[in-house]
């Protein structure tokens, strides 16, 4: 389908309504749920609303208002569902982190929730900045190769001496000491977005070449040998992440992301096939070569044999889900802190225990909404770069959610990624809000009535 067809389709179907009012109401709803969850945690665990509650209600509310106002000003036609959905996820995440703080100590001295609320404020700032400085997503295409360089640099940062740091076995952190405080962040979270920009810009240019078929084998059109270059580079880079940083999740995310975007851009199924073969070969080799991969797979197959050792995390996570059952034990009434890393990788099992299957289904549905709204933006977008960008951003969230939630639920081997918007962690939160800002930017362009569209050549 050509870009022109989409434009006409969009014009005929979409009303020029901005629907910011709808968004506001949904935001009020999301805010109310977040505040109610926070209040319940306080009342159950402290028998009263804490001072934290007031700060939360105030800061979270103002943050959402700021995000909403940013959209009204900078992207009035943007999708009205995305912001309330991620706000709801973020609110529930903050409430759960607060709840887990209280599980450690009813009078926590340096609660993680406060840090996370700080990151939320920064994230909203970045959200605003992205909308402000990226007034048209097509500008980003100009920085395709700059994005590649930045992306690769970010990926390599943790390997550098002095600033790179290894935490919990994965060398994916950069640690900076500024005055009395030490800041750690995971550059891969930011690299994710920058590399999506690169993939989109690169594929828009190269997609016709990459779509060329040379031979047909078993009903699959295989590309020309020399066109295999890019996917091989992506593959090697992913393996590099795996080998040097021991970060299975990021490795999987980047390779899956690249292959999916390649498929979307070229409309050739053969790329999925080739990607699958390369992935299988890489996975097999990694399994043979690396103890930590074998360990992960072993734990996945049977977490209970070494339940008090290596399988502890996963076993505890499953106990959390089981303990929650269908309705959950209620916020503040379970023992989600029994699961190590409940605030980060395993926050889903904390929700599973306290909000039950019902809560998990709701959270997964929220992620489904984010992903599908993103993909819808991609479909509705009029330019190829925007389409690939929006699709790439949505796919990134989709893969990340599947990999981390599937891991803590023992659907697939555990890999260690943050759960977008829920997990404790500044880099992840800030990066994901920036990601949503970009999606909304594309969405604004896609939904804007044509008469307002600036006349610019579509690449």
């Amino acid at each position: 389908m050509s870009a022109l067809d989409v434009t006409t389709a969009a014009v005929s179907k979409k009303s020029p309504k901005q629907r910011r009012g709808t968004e506001l109401w949904l935001l009020v709803f999301a805010y109310a749920i977040g505040v109610a969850a926070f209040a319940q945690v306080d009342i159950v665990l402290l028998d009263q609303l804490s001072a934290d509650f007031t700060t939360f209600a105030l800061v979270f509310g103002l943050g959402l208002v700021a995000a909403h106002v940013s959209l009204r000003w900078l992207a009035p036609h943007a999708d009205p569902i995305l912001l309330p959905t991620v706000s709801l996820l973020n609110g529930l995440g903050l409430a759960m982190i607060h709840r887990l703080d209280l599980a450690e100590d009813l009078n926590p001295t340096d609660p993680d929730y406060v840090a996370q609320l700080g990151w939320f404020v920064l994230a909203i700032g970045i959200f605003f900045a992205v909308l402000l400085f990226v007034r048209d997503h097509r500008v980003l295409q100009r920085y395709t190769y700059t994005a590649m360089l930045i992306g690769l640099l970010l990926l390599v940062l943790p390997l550098l001496p002095f600033i790179g740091a290894e935490i919990n076995g994965a060398r994916i952190w950069v640690r900076l000491t500024l005055g009395p405080r030490t800041f750690s962040f995971q550059p891969a979270e930011v690299a994710k977005i920058v590399l999506i920009v690169f993939f989109a810009g690169y594929l828009v240019v190269k997609r016709d070449v990459l779509a060329l078929a040379r031979s047909r084998v078993f009903g699959i059109d295989l590309p020309r040998g020399r066109d295999l270059g890019p996917i091989l580079v992506a593959w090697v880079a992913s393996l590099g992440v795996l080998v040097f940083q021991q970060d299975l999740g990021t490795s999987l995310l980047f390779f899956g992301l690249f292959v999916t975007m390649l498929y979307i851009a070229t409309e050739r199924r053969s790329w999925i096939f080739i990607g699958g073969v390369l992935f299988a070969a890489g996975a097999f080799a990694a399994y043979q070569l690396f103890d930590h991969v074998q360990l992960r797979v072993g734990i996945w197959l049977d977490p209970f044999t070494d339940e008090s050792g290596n399988g502890f995390q996963l076993a505890q996570s499953l106990y959390g889900f089981a303990s929650g059952g269908v309705l959950g034990v209620g916020l503040g009434q379970g023992h989600p802190d029994f699961v190590p890393f409940a605030k980060t990788d395993f926050i889903m099992s904390a929700f599973g225990e306290e909000l039950g299957l019902t809560g998990i289904m709701a959270l997964l549905a929220l992620y489904g909404i984010v992903i599908e709204r993103g993909m819808r933006t991609a479909v509705a977008c009029r330019d190829s770069f925007g389409k690939l960008l929006a699709a790439g951003l949505s796919v990134a969230i989709g893969i990340q959610v599947f990999v981390v939630v599937g891991g803590v639920m023992k659907l697939i081997p555990l890999t260690g990624l943050t759960t977008p918007f829920l997990s404790y962690g500044g880099s992840s939160l800030v990066a994901n809000w920036a990601l949503v800002a970009l999606l909304l930017r594309v969405s604004d362009a896609a939904r804007r009535p044509p008469e307002v569209t600036r006349r610019e050549a579509v690449t």
């Binding site: 076993a315 303990s323 269908v326 599973g352 599908e372 479909v379 989709g398 599947f402």
Partner: protein, 479 residues
């Protein structure tokens, strides 16, 4: 590109659905199995989060839960722990035994009969509590039994012959369940390890979990079989030589004392009173193993009982040849019995031939102490006819009045009893005593064993070591 974007969107949708299905599988299908796993600490924390019910003896709680400000809120406290440990068992973070285990649903409050109770507390916001178990034990009898054993390896079982209610269940050496009720898992496992390694085996409830050769106590069962066969009366004369050659072997059976029994011929009553081995071996040979086995089974041998603690089945073996039958008739060879089983033999005789099903829990009560159930006595089996029972009572009274059982005599009360000395390997013999009182209106039947002669060692006899303990337990009940 829209086609591939849509296809990708659909695939991502499928991934989310896969996660949803997986979540359903864990929370709905696997959850019971996962919750029940040992590694799941939530179960135990939840259990400790509410007040577990008490185990009562009379009006006194021998096990109760008291609030603490630790993470595990309630601490289990046992008063008079070692004395009652064989009955209460222990309740630890690693698991429970005894009544703590057998009545766990009631004590933890998860019993179906407490459903309405749970519902009320759910809506009223009160702290949920567990139900209470009232034991049949008689505090004085239990105390007398445990003090009587006085650290010697052995056990006492006493029951009310009319109902089967267990009045005393003591085992020695015992353990203090408080040491296992601590909330510190390391402390608990250290203490447990110490108890497990203790050569005295304090964790073993000898009164119901350990079987011993019953020795001469078994002569009462053989007497019952003899009288029931119709070929014997208490006055039937039987030969009681100094030595009895066992058929088909070179082995012989002698008496505990040197020489023949009262010159070589005794009545059945006299044979029991002086515990004449050769006479009973001969009777056993004449009756045959089949008749003795049937008689033993009517007293409860070879049967699995739950009181509700699991009782090891007492054994009268299958397919015995003649020498084995002769040895079995005096409670040797492979005949084995728990102290509770021997108390049931005494009780069956005392209760005019009817053995009542033994039980340890008299009442189950809701948290508000209203009764959920009161145990109704139930007959287990008719061991002998009323007439034979009467004859056996008289014979056993003679044992105490004029025979080996004098140490159990209580002034003014007619006591029936039987002593026993059972060889079990090369160590000093186990000494037994079983008894009932008063003969005309039986209120208590008791069996006592002291392993390997207790403090007296090789010099010990059932009369000297076990008899006085039996007497003290009976006196405690009769007071």
């Amino acid at each position: 590109m829209n086609a591939t974007i849509r296809r990708t969107a659909a695939t991502l949708g499928l991934l989310i659905i896969a996660l949803m299905i997986n979540a359903n599988v864990i929370a709905v299908i696997q959850n019971d199995e996962l919750r029940a796993r040992d590694g799941n600490r939530r179960q135990i924390i939840d259990e400790y989060d509410q007040q577990r019910g008490s185990i009562l003896v009379g009006r006194k709680a021998v096990a109760k839960s008291v609030a603490t400000d630790e993470r595990l809120r309630y601490l289990r406290v046992y008063s008079d722990g070692p004395a009652y440990a064989p009955a209460t068992g222990y309740y630890s973070v690693y698991g429970a035994t005894g009544i703590e285990k057998a009545e766990n649903d009631l004590l933890a409050g998860s019993d179906d009969r407490l459903f309405v109770d749970r519902l009320t507390t759910l809506f009223s916001g009160q702290q949920q509590q567990g139900g209470n178990a009232v034991l049949t034990l008689d505090a004085d009898a239990q105390r007398a039994a445990f003090d009587g054993l006085d650290g010697q390896e052995g056990a006492v079982a006493a029951i009310d012959p009319r109902t089967g209610a267990i009045l005393a269940m003591a085992s020695s050496p015992s353990f203090d369940p408080n040491l296992l009720a601590s909330h510190d898992p390391t402390e608990v496992s250290d203490n447990y390890e110490k108890m497990r390694r203790d050569p005295g085996d304090p964790l073993l409830n000898r009164s119901i979990q350990q079987v011993y050769p019953p020795g001469s106590l078994f002569k009462v069962v053989v007497s019952a079989a003899a009288l029931s066969s119709g070929e014997y009366t208490p006055n039937t004369k039987v030969p009681g030589p100094a030595l009895l050659d066992l058929p088909d072997t070179s082995a012989t059976i002698g008496n505990y004392f040197d020489g023949s029994c009262l010159g070589g011929t005794v009545t059945l009553t006299e044979a029991l009173a002086i515990s004449c081995n050769t006479a009973f071996a001969k009777i056993g040979l004449k009756l045959g193993d089949q008749a003795i086995r049937e008689q033993a089974n009517r007293f409860g041998f070879n049967e699995r009982l739950n009181v509700p603690l699991t009782v090891a089945p007492s054994i009268y073996p299958d397919d015995l040849n003649a020498p084995q039958t002769a040895q079995s008739a005096i409670g040797q060879f492979d005949v084995r019995a728990t102290p509770l089983q021997m108390a049931m033999v005494a009780a069956g005789v005392a209760n005019d031939g009817m053995v009542m099903t033994p039980y340890l829990v008299a009442e189950e009560r809701a948290p508000d102490l209203s009764a959920l159930s009161i145990t109704e006595p139930e007959p287990l089996s008719r061991a002998v006819s009323t007439q034979v029972a009467g004859e056996l009572q008289d014979m056993m009274v003679t044992v105490v009045a004029n025979g080996t059982g004098a140490s159990a005599a209580i002034p003014g009360v007619s006591v029936g009893g039987k002593t026993g000395t059972a060889q079990d390997g090369k160590r000093p013999p186990h000494v037994w005593f079983m008894a009932f009182a008063p003969a005309e209106d039986p209120q208590v039947a008791v069996a006592v064993i002291v392993e390997n002669g207790g403090r007296l060692g090789d010099d010990a006899t059932g009369g000297a070591v076990a008899g006085p303990i039996a007497r003290e337990v009976m006196e405690a009940v009769l007071q």
